[in-house]
Amino acid sequence: MNKNNIKSSSSVSLDNVSITYGNSVAVKNVFCEIEKNQVTSFIGPSGCGKSTVIRAINRMNDLIEGCKLSGSVIFEGIDIYAEDIDPVEVRRRIGMVFQQPNPFPKSIYENIAFGARVNGYKGNMDQLVEESLTKAAVWDECKDKLNESGYSLSGGQQQRLCIARTIAIEPDVILMDEPCSALDPLSTLKIEETIHELKKNFTIIIVTHNMQQANRVSDYTAFFNTEKKDKSQGGKIGFLVEFNKTKNIFNSPKQKSTQDYISGKFG
């Protein structure tokens, strides 16, 4: 990977990103160009830093004490780690769906309306709620109980509610950190269908443990791996092995470790 392949259609670009927790390096030297209106998936074994990288894209790592980033994350031409950047504004443009469904302890309606309201939404709230829930393919299941708690839904429905909540604030990019890991296969399928619909309007980055899922939903795939640190320290450092179109990664990977991982030899 080098800097020469920066294209004008990229939405987010990671430029020599290294992330450390306290004294230990979690990921190092990541270069990656994420295309607009495409689905990019991050795959790799546990501890390879793919979640760390995705959280760095909307400055979620700011919440973790001792987490530091070097290099730069460029979003639409702006370095979001520059001194004068407000992380709150970054998160409004780059929304996030988390591993565990985490609706707010409020009604389904309020779950959508809360984000819209803090972002200064002025339009018709009822309409926004319906549109967002429809786009997230969960409207039919909750149209009759909009005033009930978000927790009255099943796990898969909760996760789609969380996606709806993120869509409602109309971000440019949606980050999904293993959105299906807590869900059953049917709910997973529904979420994947939702992702297909969403990429018309949003740039999507998804972290997944499931290689079939990466193959099904994504246009681009980044494969991360780990390497042992110096013998004295122990622990592992993650790094980006290969980033390419998904079909290339799965059909003709350039690196041997990618080939080994996707064919199930490790991980």
Binding site: M60, V88, R91, N102
Partner: protein
């Protein structure tokens, strides 16, 4: 073979371990009963003895000066309103400060030395005897006449009670906010909420029931205190009739009990019993209310 031969599987009550087991179960049950016995005895004694002196006159009249030549000893009305007013003053001071401090500890402080110091300090404050809080307020407010020249006053009483409420409120707010799942915080940040919005809209509402429980328990403790009030509000036999009266001596149930129970006259002793009855009912009520609030929380994560 290091083990004895295999025994029968049927329960054998004469085995030493089974006898010990039974004996210890009985002993611990006995101690459990003894530990709640004082509560039951005190409350039932006060309720039976005090309840018989309760009537409309006792509840609303002002107490008469002690003496055995009067037809009626009057009532405890001013003491009830006094306790009520001073509890409200104490709440107005301690709830904003305590909840604010708890929010700082749980949401803003990064477990640094300052936060540790505050937590330690509020724990120490919780252990300070209430009479010390009274003497402290006496020294800085009553004896200096700092409040517009007034000495003993309802306001000074309220302030001394607020000192007693503060540590409980800080601690319950801190603990309640720490119990709110970090998923909630991430979710709020994920939709672009600022930290302030996140706290006011997500974590505080989620912790609301626990915080109000803590506030009520703190209030229940403060409302029953006597020692700090003797040094600060003293006692008054009269109703307050204007805002200015807040700056003069104010009666309260607990100080009325202290004063009147020591009188040699039967009539005053009866008023003390009536006041005890009201105080116990109020404190029980506050405790039960806090329990009930604790069971609420329709949208909390654990109860769907």
């Amino acid at each position: 073979m290091n083990y004895p031969s295999k025994k029968s599987l049927t329960y054998n009550p004469s085995l030493i371990r089974n006898i010990w087991n039974k004996a210890l179960t009985i002993i611990s049950a006995l101690f459990a009963i003894i530990s709640v016995l004082p509560l039951i005895l005190v409350i039932s004694y006060v309720l039976i003895k005090g309840g018989s002196y309760i009537n409309i006159d006792t509840l609303i009249l002002e107490p008469e000066p002690p003496g055995d030549d009067l037809l009626s000893a009057g009532g405890i009305g001013p003491a009830i309103t006094g306790t009520f007013i001073m509890s409200i003053i104490a709440s107005f001071i301690s709830i904003p400060v305590g909840v604010g401090g708890g929010i700082y500890l749980a949401e803003y402080s990064k477990s640094g030395k300052f936060a540790k110091f505050i937590r330690f300090g509020s724990n120490v404050l919780a252990g300070v005897p209430s009479i010390i809080a009274g003497v402290f307020i006496y020294a800085i407010i009553v004896s200096t006449k700092i409040l517009f020249g007034s000495m003993f006053s309802g306001i000074a009483g309220g302030i001394s009670l607020s000192i007693l409420m503060l540590p409980t409120i800080i601690k319950t707010t801190d603990e309640a906010l720490k119990l709110v799942s970090n998923d909630m915080r991430r979710a709020a940040f994920g939709v672009g909420a600022s930290k302030f919005t996140m706290i006011t809209n997500i974590t505080l509402p989620a912790a609301f029931t626990s915080i109000s429980t803590g506030i009520l328990l703190a209030l229940a403790r403060a409302a029953g205190e006597t020692a700090p009030l003797i040094f600060t509000a003293l006692f008054s036999r009269y109703y307050i009739t204007s805002f200015d009266d807040l700056f003069y001596e104010m009666g309260s149930l607990s100080v009325l009990i202290y004063n009147f129970a020591l009188e040699p006259y039967e009539a005053q002793n009866q008023l003390a019993w009536a006041a005890s009855f009201i105080l116990v009912i109020v404190l029980l009520g506050l405790n039960i209310l806090s329990r009930w609030i604790g069971t609420l929380g329709a949208f909390s994560k654990n109860k769907v």
